[in-house]
Amino acid sequence: MAERKGLTPLQLDALREVGNIGSGNAAVALSTMVDKKVMLSVPRASLVPLVKVSDLVGGAETPVVGVYLHISGDASGSMLLLLEEKSARELAHLMVSGEEGGELTTVEQSALQETGSILAGSYLNALSQMTGILLKPSVPGFAMDMAGAIIDFILVEISQSEDYVLVIETEFDVLQHKIRGHLILFPDLGSLDIILGRLGVSTA
C-alpha cells in the first residue's frame, strides 16, 4: 500500500466541492424517489487512514448499514455509504413512511440501498463531469452488521489500494430531521492521483 501524508486544504476543498455538486443532484433524485423533500449537504471532506474507518461510527462492533459498490472505468476503486444502524433506521422510516422507530422493512432496506446507489452515482457523475474521467458504478450490495466486519471485507477486496480513503460527510435533511452519514471513496492504488491531477490540484 502507498504512503500518503495527506491532502492539502485546497485538494480537500476541491473534493468537497465535487461532493456538493454531487449531493445537489442526489437530493433531487432522492426527493423524487420518496416523494418528499430531501436535502443534502456536505459539511466536510477528509482523508482517513483505512484502519481508522470504523472509528467514524464508534468502533468495530458498532451496528451499521453499509451500501457498497465497485467503480470501474478510467480510475477504479469502490464506494461505501456507511450509516450507524440507528441513523439508517431513522432515515429509512422518514423517507418511506414519514414516521420514526421500529425495525427495517424490506421496502426500507431497498430505499437505503437505492440511497447509497444514488449518492455514489451522483458523486461519481459530478467527478466525471469535472475531470473527464469515466467512472462507472456497479450495482450496490447491502449489509447490516458490525462496522469492523464491513470494513474488513472491503479492506481485503481492495488490498492493492491506497492507505487512506476519502470520507465525504453527508448530512440528510428529511422532514426537519438531520441525519449524518459517511460516503467513503476507496481509490485503488494510483486512482486518487489521477483524479486530483484532473481536478487541477495535483501535488506533483
Partner: protein, 176 residues
C-alpha cells in the same frame, strides 16, 4: 461477552496482527468479516496465541509485508513463538472463526480490471481453506470452528483455559 472473566487484561488483536502469550489474557479480534481469527492453545503450558488473518497466501504477493496478514505465515509464526515459550507442537490445538462474505454484488467479476491476483468475493472461504491447509501441514488439530455465512463476528480467546467465545449481532454469543 463472558462478563465474569473481564478482569483479565484484554488485548486487541487488529487486522493482520497476531499475539502470543503465556499470561492469562483475553485476546480479542473485533468485527471479523472475511478475515479469520485463529486461536492456538497449549493446554499443558497454558500458552495461547490469536491471529487476525486477512489473506490466504503470502506467496501470491511480490511484497507480502508482515507475517500476520496471511494464513500460511501467521500460523507458522505463532507456532514458532509458542515453541519458544516452551510449547510442544503435539500439545497445540486450534479454533477459528470468521471468513464471511459481507456483500454480494450481482455480476461482479473483476472490479479492478487490472492485472494481478484478483481477490474477489470468495476470499473469506479461501481464508478458511488456507488456515486448514496450514494447520494440516503443521499437524495441529482444528477442534472447533464457526466460519462462513454473511455476518460479522467478534472472537474472544481466554488464554487462562483456552475457551473461545464468538459473538455476532445476528446470533448473539456462543462458546466455541
Amino acid at each position: 461477552m463472558s462478563e465474569e472473566k473481564t478482569d483479565e487484561e484484554v488485548v486487541n488483536v487488529g487486522v493482520a496482527e497476531y499475539y502470543v502469550t503465556h499470561n492469562p489474557h483475553v485476546l480479542a479480534s473485533y468485527g471479523l468479516g472475511s478475515c479469520v481469527g485463529v486461536a492456538l492453545y497449549d493446554d499443558r503450558k497454558k500458552i495461547g496465541g490469536l491471529a487476525h488473518i486477512m489473506l490466504p497466501d503470502s506467496k501470491a504477493f511480490s511484497k507480502p509485508g508482515g507475517a500476520g496478514r496471511y494464513a500460511d505465515t501467521a500460523i507458522r509464526a505463532m507456532v514458532e513463538e509458542m515453541e519458544k515459550l516452551g510449547s510442544r507442537r503435539k500439545d497445540i490445538r486450534a479454533k477459528m472463526a470468521g471468513g464471511a462474505c459481507m456483500f454480494t454484488i450481482p455480476g461482479a467479476k473483476n472490479p479492478k480490471n487490472v492485472p494481478g491476483p484478483y481477490l474477489g468475493m470468495q476470499i473469506g472461504e479461501r481464508n478458511v481453506e488456507a488456515v486448514k491447509k496450514a494447520l494440516k501441514e503443521l499437524k495441529i488439530p482444528l477442534v472447533a470452528e464457526d466460519t462462513g455465512g454473511s455476518y460479522g463476528r467478534t472472537m474472544r480467546f481466554f488464554t487462562s483455559d483456552g475457551s473461545v467465545v464468538v459473538s455476532s449481532i445476528r446470533f448473539g454469543s456462543k462458546n466455541l
